[in-house]
């Protein structure tokens, strides 16, 4: 009897702890979700219970976003920027990560750490020199400036991420391919890349998310509404005067976060499982 009680208590504690973290992490999303569907009178009446709808839900904020603002344009801008940055990042980080992973000895290790350290330089510091470069290139006030600038933090991070993954990949597979008639590049393309799909996918999602949530560079380099990415557009153009229109802001944030959340949940789990099984041993 006593044993059952202790076990039940243990399980209860376990689930309570989990419930706590679930609430803490999902509450902001819940808040975003209900706010974006609430009518303005509901939102701004302080006597209402804020955790649920006091009036019927509405799509008014979404309609406003798409009809009265450049929201669709911002979405498109973010998508274009994200895809371009993902492409640039992969082109640079895949070979860089591979070279670093297969470089034996202290040099490779030190270089890898050095590259990661550049990721830690804050954008608030880096935008000063970068703004000169952007100005010289004539890219001020253009979203293409962001396509150029974002790789400065995505490439170091992804190189480092991919390096770790390549290190875990048994070198015999590439070596076998090389002896079997491939060049080093051929072995990289035919063996390393297909076997690294989980890591590449992780890199893609990370890069895309990083560009999607970036704010400081966007704020510094872009000011015309039509060139803004979504983070900037929502935060600057939806605040009229000094009034925060929470319904529209939350609706915008919701639309931007849903695809990322889906990508994280569906893709990562599926691809991360051991695709390399059976290669060695």
């Amino acid at each position: 009897m006593q044993r059952i009680v202790t076990r039940v208590a243990g399980e209860a504690g376990f689930y309570l702890a989990i419930a706590f973290f679930v609430v803490v992490t999902t509450f902001p999303f819940y808040w975003m979700l209900i706010t974006s569907f609430k009518t303005n009178p509901d939102l701004y009446d302080v006597t209402n219970i804020p955790f649920w709808f006091n009036e019927a839900p509405t799509l008014e904020h979404f309609r406003y976003l798409f009809e009265q603002t450049l929201f669709a344009r911002w979405l498109l801008n973010s998508l274009v920027i994200g895809l371009c940055v993902v492409a640039i990042t992969l082109i640079a980080a895949l070979p860089a990560g591979y070279s670093l992973a297969r470089m034996t000895g202290r040099n490779g290790e030190a270089l890898g750490i050095g590259i990661f350290l550049t990721y830690l330089v804050p954008p608030t510091l880096l935008f000063l020199p970068l703004s000169r470069i952007i100005a010289n290139l004539g890219l001020q006030n253009s979203m293409w400036s962001l396509v150029l600038v974002y790789p400065t933090f995505t490439i170091p991070f992804c190189t480092w991420l991919l390096m770790g993954f390549f290190k875990a990949l048994p070198p015999e597979i590439e070596e076998a391919a090389i002896v079997d008639g491939c060049s080093l590049f051929g072995a990289f393309v035919r063996m390393v890349i297909p076997l690294s799909l989980p890591a590449i996918l992780t890199t893609v999602i990370f890069t895309f998310t990083l560009t999607l949530q970036e704010f400081v560079y966007a704020l510094t380099f872009v000011s015309s509404s039509a060139q803004k990415p979504i983070t900037l557009g929502v935060a600057t153009d939806l605040v009229r005067g000094d009034i925060f229109f929470w319904g529209e802001i939350m609706a915008g944030a919701l639309i931007a976060s849903v695809p990322v959340a889906i990508a994280y949940n569906l893709l990562l789990d599926r691809f991360i499982t051991g695709i390399t099984g059976g290669a060695v041993k």
């Binding site: 000895g105 048994p170 015999e172 597979i173 070596e175 076998a176 391919a177 090389i178 002896v179 079997d180 008639g181 491939c182 060049s183 051929g186 063996m191 297909p194 076997l195 695709i275 390399t276 099984g277 059976g278 290669a279 060695v280 041993k281």
Partner: protein, 340 residues
């Protein structure tokens, strides 16, 4: 199929001298085993032959051509890795076909050769599986089929049996040997297992610290070891060594028998005190010391199991002997000498 010859190959990794001047000439179709302890440089030497490493100095000749600067893909050698290095994202069929695809062999030809190689190794029924669905023995066969399918100039095997369990290893050993005879491909096989080396090699090259200590047929290596290293590395238990005035007297445990078992012929006698026995089924290994010599120097005798334990009791001393022709002498540098 081709000859492979190496002359004075040296490989240095920073401060470490991995291969220290190996010269070796392998005629067409020969099965040579490189035998040595781990870290002796045998795998590095193999990787130099296939081109995965570039030697620091020395020449490598395959089929009459110097291949020092030829990339691996153009050397025409096949290598089977210790961990097999199968391509996990390909089916067995595509694994075997891969070396042919890179050579741009035509589709029908590929199909024919894959069929030939898989039949040779008895893995036709596995062709549509992926490596992770195979057992260790099956993976080994797939790796071998992949190595052989393009009829390489030389076949390099790096401890191919070390991932198999003991029972499978014995049968796989037989298979590799038979199969190499049938195909007739020049083969270089690296192992640290002396049983494998003895069973497989036409010749064995014993490697230590990046050098070949001795090269010869299994009988030569076993019966006429060139130095103390070879004498003690080959044979289980290893050759007994008695040091005396810096020089060394060696004899194999199976030649060290109770005096009464010896028939005629010139023998050298020793008083042997057995410390303990190890019963191995077909034989009994006696561990002990020889009177008059260093008592910390353990000597082993391999006795046929039919000799009752009572005849030579642990703790008692017993007269043992070795035929004079079975004694080997080594000088104080460990080199073999002709004896007294």
């Amino acid at each position: 199929m081709a000859t492979v010859s190496a002359s004075n190959i040296v490989k240095r990794f920073d401060e470490v001298l991995a291969v220290n001047g190996i010269s070796l000439a392998i005629p067409d179709g020969e099965f040579v085993v490189l035998l040595g302890p781990s870290g002796c440089g045998k795998t590095t030497f193999l990787r130099i032959i296939c081109g995965l490493e570039r030697q620091t100095s020395g020449d490598l000749v395959i089929d009459g051509n110097i291949v020092n600067d030829v990339p691996p893909r153009a050397r025409g050698v096949a290598m089977m890795f210790q961990s097999y290095g199968l391509y996990p994202h390909y089916t067995v069929r595509n694994n075997i076909a891969f070396p042919l695809r890179t050579q741009r062999v035509s589709g029908t030809e590929i199909e024919k050769k894959v069929k030939w190689a898989s039949r040779l190794l008895g893995i036709e029924f596995l062709l549509d599986r992926r490596p992770r669905q195979l057992s260790g023995g099956e993976r080994q066969r797939v790796a071998l089929a992949r190595a052989l399918v393009r009829e390489p100039t030389a076949l390099l095997l790096d401890e191919p049996l070390s991932n198999l369990d003991a029972k499978l290893r014995a049968s796989a050993r037989q298979e590799i040997k038979q199969f190499q005879r049938r195909v007739g491909v020049t083969t270089i096989y690296v192992t640290h297992d002396q049983v494998e080396a003895m069973a497989l090699g036409d010749r064995i090259a014993v490697v230590d610290h990046g050098r070949i200590r001795q090269i010869g047929t299994p009988t030569e290596i076993y019966d006429e070891p060139a130095d103390r290293f070879v004498a003690t590395f080959v044979g289980a238990p290893p050759m007994n060594l008695l040091t005396h005035n810096g020089a060394c007297l060696g004899f194999r445990p199976e030649n060290f028998l109770p005096r009464e078992m010896m028939r005629d012929g010139a023998v050298t006698e020793f008083w042997f005190r057995v410390d303990r026995y190890e019963y191995l089924g077909s034989e009994r290994i006696a561990y002990g010391t020889i009177e008059g010599f260093d008592s910390t120097q353990f000597i082993t005798a391999k006795l046929p199991a039919r000799i009752a334990e009572e005849s030579v009791r642990p703790g008692e001393r017993h007269l043992f002997a070795v035929h004079r022709q079975d004694l080997r002498y080594f000088d104080h540098d460990g080199k073999r000498t002709r004896g007294h």
